[in-house]
């Protein structure tokens, strides 16, 4: 078989995976949220949707293809049409480097995780293109919020990402997985938590859902989109949710590592998909359980809490890791207690500081209401 044909075949499999998994994941999301709201969710009461309505998403996908594509009169035509393709493309490109197994990976470039960091913000470009070109006030508002939120959260995400890179000494995702004799989430719970929150904000899941905010600004940046153009945004959103879950699983939960993976290499993708699916489920539980934060609260959490915490963690981990190394703890397992203790101390201090600041805020509110009462 000529080599380029094999490349094309590999690419096709790699690109079909997100589409197929999303068909299932949308069903999972709808079921989870329905159960949390005490509903049944999609079910097959006398329809052709299959057992438990498993093929409901497929039916929806076929139906949305036959819906009319409406282009609003004020829209900037070419930018408006390009936005769904850009958002879908950026969601798919990440799958090139996700390591499903020791050898099962599209490609393992030396800059692996940096590639992910570079590719994912293209979704933001698409948001700007969509929101601004559709000449709609809700869409413009959604774009402003999306830009402020997503670029802000890139900072704690990147800073907490530096810590696994520091412990590994490489950007390659394969090396990052191999370095995790223990999953980094156990060794570094605080950076993992920061990364998780920042990633939730990056994909705009519920506590941080200001870009869409369907109860306030219709649908945010894709208000004007209809038919499959809307479908592309929806598809890309779920692909992004799943791929960031997989990236989180790779960085902090040990990726394809798991019991018996060395004897049976085929278990690699199973472990990774299982871990990624669990992270995805947490995102969906957030979706069902969380209220929507205001934009100023979202930005405050980022700039006044997550970013300073990430900076402190970077300094603390650099020092503790170095000191432990000089004490003779050369493997990650040997350094794990040191790093975990450091995380614990930083966590306790952070909680103390948060309590203090909330008490101060409470006192200020009390004083204000007291003065209001006197007037």
């Amino acid at each position: 078989m000529p080599i380029y044909l094999r490349y094309a075949l590999n690419s096709l499999i790699l690109l079909a995976t997100p589409f197929v998994s999303v068909l299932i994941l949308i069903w999972v999301a709808r079921k989870v949220i329905a159960r949390m709201q005490d509903r049944l969710g999609p079910n097959n009461s006398g329809t052709w949707a299959g057992p438990y309505a498993l093929f409901q998403t497929l039916a929806d996908a076929i139906k949305i293809l036959t819906k009319e594509l409406i282009i609003p009169e004020g829209a900037d035509l070419w930018v408006f049409l390009a936005a769904p393709a850009v958002v879908l493309g950026s969601a798919l490109l990440v799958w090139l480097v996700i390591p499903f197994g020791p050898t099962l990976q599209g490609m393992d470039p030396d800059i692996g995780i940096f590639y992910v960091v570079v590719i994912t913000p293209f979704a933001l470009f698409a948001m700007i293109m969509a929101g601004w070109s559709s000449r709609n006030k809700y869409a413009a508002l959604g774009t402003f919020r999306a830009v402020a939120q997503i670029i802000s959260y890139e900072i704690p995400q990147f800073l907490s990402l530096l810590i696994p890179i520091m412990l590994t000494g490489s950007l390659s995702l394969q090396h990052l997985v191999l370095a995790q004799q223990l999953p980094f989430a156990l060794v570094l719970p605080i950076p993992a938590l920061i990364y998780f929150l920042a990633m939730t904000a990056e994909v705009g899941r519920l506590p941080f859902e200001q870009a869409e905010a369907d109860a306030e600004i219709v649908a945010g940046y894709f208000t004007e989109y209809s038919g499959m153009m809307f479908g592309s945004f929806y598809l890309a959103e779920f692909i992004n949710n799943f791929s960031v879950s997989l990236i989180f699983a790779t960085l902090f939960l040990g990726g394809w590592r798991g019991p018996w993976v060395m004897e049976v290499p085929l278990l690699g993708p199973v472990w990774l998909l299982l871990k990624g699916f669990l992270v995805f489920l947490v995102l969906m539980l957030f979706w069902g359980a969380m209220p929507r934060l205001r934009i100023d609260q979202i930005l405050n959490i980022n700039w006044k809490f997550l970013t300073p915490l990430a900076l402190v963690m970077l300094i603390v981990v650099a020092w503790v890791n170095r000191l432990a190394f000089d004490q003779g703890a050369t493997t990650l397992v040997a350094r794990a207690p040191w790093l975990f203790a450091a995380n614990l101390v930083v966590g306790l201090v952070t909680i103390g500081l948060l309590k203090l600041s909330s008490q101060r805020a409470q006192r200020r509110r009390d004083a204000q209401s007291f003065e209001l009462l006197r007037e």
Binding site: E73, L93, R135, S152
Partner: protein, 118 residues
């Protein structure tokens, strides 16, 4: 090594096809009965009035500016993070100083009131 990049090129081209395919397919399959009522801006049910592409309040841009500062400085941290394992102790001290400078930048922005939502 160069052949591997052949894979990247093919992957990127196929991604472009996959990204455009849904909308093209929908354009082939969907009905085309456009009318001026349908093409109105989707807002409140009334015809939209006033300009949409206006100069908006600068609050959002302040965050973007702060991001540029932090983004550039965190990219400078990346090479240090990769080489951290191999570097002498002095490098840790120097990186700490750099991070403290970064933190000082954050304190400056904070005290300046840029992070206060208006």
């Amino acid at each position: 090594m160069l052949e591997q990049y052949g894979f990247v090129v093919i992957f990127f081209l196929l991604t472009a096809v996959f990204a455009v395919a849904p909308v093209v397919l929908a354009w082939i399959l969907s009905p085309k009965k456009s009318s001026s009522r349908k093409r109105e801006t989707y807002e409140s049910g009334l015809r939209t009035f006033g300009k949409t592409w206006i100069e908006f309040k600068p609050q959002y841009y302040l965050y973007a500016l702060a991001y540029v500062v932090f983004g550039v400085e965190s990219v400078l941290l990346l090479p240090w993070a990769i080489a951290y394992v191999f570097l002498p102790f002095y490098a840790v001290v120097e990186a700490t100083l750099f991070l403290l400078l970064l933190g000082f930048g954050l304190v400056y922005v904070w005290k300046k009131g840029w992070l206060h939502w208006m």
